[in-house]
Symmetry: C2
Subunit: 134 residues, 2 copies
């Protein structure tokens, strides 16, 4: 997809096609990947000197609101995943690195090359009764 196309998609979504947003779209949405606001900021800054970290946060939030990425808040770090189809994750408890986890059917112990898995759990997200009634 070309820069021109991202500009169009941003405008169709009601967002101005600023250089920051167009580049962010190219970096984040062109392929399925995980990225933190700080990583995005670093990648933006490589080509747009002066971009603020704040902008990286805001763009990711906006993409999330559009359903273009999914937020994953794990271990004091917030990740955004441009693969929005349901899938599972593998997280390093030491450094926070994150990867996709093969689907449930696959042999857990064999597939994630080089990882030592210590725990597998399910997390359900939602709104609790109190928050629902407000």
């Amino acid at each position: 997809m070309q820069r021109r196309d991202w500009q169009k998609r941003l405008q169709q979504a009601g967002l101005r096609a600023t250089p920051q947003r167009v580049l962010a779209a190219e970096l984040v949405l062109a392929r399925a990947r995980h990225i933190t606001p700080q990583q995005l900021h670093a990648e933006l800054a490589a080509r747009l000197p002066g971009v603020s970290l704040n902008t990286a946060y805001q763009i990711l939030q906006q993409f999330e609101a559009l359903g273009w990425v999914r937020r994953l808040a794990l271990g004091a770090r917030t990740w955004f995943d441009s693969n929005t189809t349901p899938h599972d994750h593998l997280v390093c408890t030491r450094c926070g690195r994150m990867e996709d986890l093969p689907p449930e059917q696959a042999q857990l112990s064999s597939v994630p090359q080089g990882w030592r898995i210590t725990r597998v759990m399910r997390i359900a997200e939602g709104l609790c009764p109190r928050c629902l009634s407000r």
Copy 2:
């Protein structure tokens, strides 16, 4: 279990039986529950005026190292779970509240009373190849 027993268990684990730790053990370990450092601090302070938040953090870390609680870092908040058997969790994306999730077999949509679930995912924790080799 009595205060006397907690003192003994702490000493057997190699920890001094300070009032802070004995009370924390009573509060956290007597029954299966989820607690954050700030919650523990508040509960400690109710009976031991002057305890520091720092101490709540440290005690929970020590209990974790002993395998007495499990750490769950979700959504910018760290929880410690005194139910160390494998089970799943339900987290409120708005307020951070956490509950146990009924086992996989149960009907997800029906069981958590009053909650609106928006997503269910698996998380595998472990050490990544790089962290393993250091």
